[in-house]
Amino acid sequence: MSDIVSRRTMMKGAGATLGAAAFAHAMAPLTEWSKDLSVDEFLQKHYKELTRDELGRVLLHLKEETKRKYGRDVDIQALPPQEGVSFAYALNLSICIGCRKCAEACHQENNHDRRTGNSYIRVLEMQQGSLDLEHGNANYDHPVPAEGKYYLPVQCHQCDNAPCVKVCPVQATWKEQDGIVVVDYNWCIGCRYCEAACPYHARRFNWAKPEIPPEEINPDQGYLSNRIRPQGVVEKCTFCLHRTRAGRLPACLEACPTGARVFGNLLDPKSPIRWVLENKRVFVLKEELGTRPRFFYFFDK
């Protein structure tokens, strides 16, 4: 009896050792993954809970990391929203020609992954006389503007009642004072629930580590906007808040050759965006969903 028991125990020991070895072997690729993990980053608090000092250290760390991983010196800031500013965007569908210069500018400004050619903006080629998205096409490949078509660029609408913010289980995404919906890339757990919830296809996930040649990196970066995102988190358009919070215009607006884009502070009565809202007939996409976008569309007549 005791012979059997000890033999059995021995077998179990051998089995356990073998199992452990096999498991270690199976998990070996993890060494690659853990290299990118730092204890500081792991324990980092939510953006809103960071003190000035802590935020300073985080920004410094991020700059060093960009240098190490991408070989480029960059400046990463965390500009706060300005008092008395509430941003909104409007787009004139009568003069948009669907050239996608905005999408291209977004791609460069926001340090998007070069391999996938990502951009926060999608331009839909729509059938004249219909607002039905089902008759739109985002993958057109011919000279523009085409006969019988008009063009509908879509990006994050910075919804005031944002489904993406509602669903995020860890509050990694929220609405800032100036109306911009942001993501803390160091807090997002990558569940992509927000991506499922957004009715405007405005969110992107980093399915792999973004690839950008050092000379193409835009060094003017923001913690909550265009710094190079880590693998495995969600990102989105922020109306270029690293620019707009410093009094500049979004990159997509500057790139638009027809002047179809209007941006500004809703609380400033003299701003062009106020003029558009007061003098044009504007509408929003999917109004029936109650998302209350601050991205408006209008036609000249």
Binding site: E32, A138, I189, W207
Partner: protein
């Protein structure tokens, strides 16, 4: 016995059970080795996915959830359905069922483990899971449905662990379980079972931008299909247990579970029909996803073979389970169970999650096909779940049947029982 003694004895008891679970016949070792091998393949694929990114999956920004969340959804149904034997047992005082409710609860525990693993492998940053912990993270409760899901799933796990643990431990000590220590939890687990699957349905049906999911019928449909898969799995499991442990499991429970399935397979088909009616009779953009799912759209039909297979399996199971011969031939019953299980797996998986994303919110048709990595990880998780279930059932049964008890040990030494020869055979 002082309550404080249990604090020491209970962990020892669990440890002993675990040790015991590694004893077994060659069949058991083969089975566990095969499962470990599959689980290891999954673990390896997962390690690659973590290191190289989720680009290794077939998902995209258009279809942001795929096979993992599909299996998660199905797993929740299985967990919820598993306790459905509790209803006949306790609400309708079907005494024969009492003996097997525990099996259902153990299945629920294993299924919840599976669900939690599917969530973990779907996360871009699993090491940040602590952000989800109330108190130290930022738990977006009660606004986010996902936080509700975390609460109900973990709660369900705890409830079932408590019931199983308590009943087995008491049997082990040779004492009569005290009703107030488990009965309230049993009833709670019934309500809780409904809640886990409803909350999981709300996860999807609460999204206004996804018309395919945005239906009030989603939660009831989930519950109906849960009451198919749970009983179907348990029917087969009971026979396996009967065969390999010689535990006397009567025909009664099988018959009751079959009656449950007879109703739920029809209910499920009926609700599917209702949804199809609304979609196709009304038409319009709301029907695009359904059209894509069943007939394909603009030259894309990745899901068409899946959904028709699911419908065929569901109808076939409904027919077989209603055949008079099925009452006499258990193999027919098993066939019905297998058909129903596979049918619901597709319907609640690929047939529910993916069409929510195709066409996308801007009406782009981007299709999704799972990659090898996803299949490996999925198989690995299910294999792990089966290992958990095997071990749980294997240690629970000898205790329940009285083959192992604390009284075998020297008095006052606590539960150091040596197993009887019968237990070895049973294993």
């Amino acid at each position: 016995m002082a309550a404080s003694r249990h604090l020491l004895d209970y962990p020892r008891f669990l440890g002993r059970l675990l040790w015991m679970s590694t004893d077994g016949s060659w069949r058991f070792y083969t089975w566990m080795t095969v499962l470990s091998a599959i689980a290891l393949v999954g673990a390896n694929a997962y390690a690659h996915q973590l290191a190289e990114g989720m680009a290794l999956t077939g998902m995209s920004d258009h279809v942001s959830w795929g096979l993992y969340i599909a299996n998660f959804t199905f797993g929740v149904g299985l967990a919820a359905g598993a306790v459905m034997m509790v209803i006949p047992a306790y609400l309708y005082h079907d005494h024969e069922m009492h003996d097997v409710t525990l099996i259902g609860e153990l299945l629920a525990v294993a299924a919840i483990f599976v669900c939690l693993l599917f969530i973990v492998v779907d996360m871009g940053h699993p090491e940040r899971a602590w952000h989800l912990m109330p108190g130290i993270g930022r738990f977006n409760w009660p606004i986010s449905m996902l936080t509700w899901d975390v609460v109900v799933l973990n709660g369900y796990l705890l409830i079932n662990l408590h019931i199983c643990g308590y009943l087995i431990y008491m049997r082990f000590l040779g004492r009569k379980p005290r009703k107030q220590w488990y009965l309230p939890f049993v009833f709670l687990s019934i309500f809780w079972a409904i809640s886990i699957h409803s909350v999981t349905a709300f996860l999807y049906s609460g999204l206004g931008g996804r018309p395919f999911w945005n239906s009030a019928l989603l939660a009831p449909r989930f519950i109906a299909s849960a009451f198919i898969t749970g009983p179907a799995f348990v029917i087969v499991l009971l026979q396996v247990i009967r065969r390999f442990t010689g535990l006397p499991i009567g025909e009664g429970p099988l018959r009751t579970l079959m009656s449950v399935m007879r109703v739920t397979v029809l209910l499920n088909l009926f609700m599917l029909g209702s949804e199809l009616f609304t979609a196709f009779y009304t038409g319009g953009t709301h029907a695009t996803a359904v059209r894509y799912l069943f007939f394909g759209s603009h030259g894309h039909h990745a899901l068409v073979p899946w959904i028709w297979t699911a419908v065929a399996l569901n109808i076939a199971s409904a027919v077989v389970v209603h055949l008079p011969a099925t009452r006499r031939h258990v193999w027919l019953l098993n066939l019905a169970c297998a058909l129903a299980f596979a049918g619901v797996w597709i319907e609640k998986g690929m047939g529910l999650i993916i069409p929510g994303f195709v066409p996308s919110t801007l009406h782009e048709l981007v299709e999704y096909v799972p990659t090898i990595t996803e299949w490996k990880i999925t198989a690995g998780i299910w294999a792990f779940g089966l290992m958990v279930l095997t071990v749980a059932v294997k240690v629970a049964l000898p205790v329940l049947s009285g083959q192992i008890a604390a009284s075998h040990a020297e008095h006052g030494q606590g539960p150091h029982g040596t197993e009887g020869p019968e237990a070895k055979q049973a294993a």
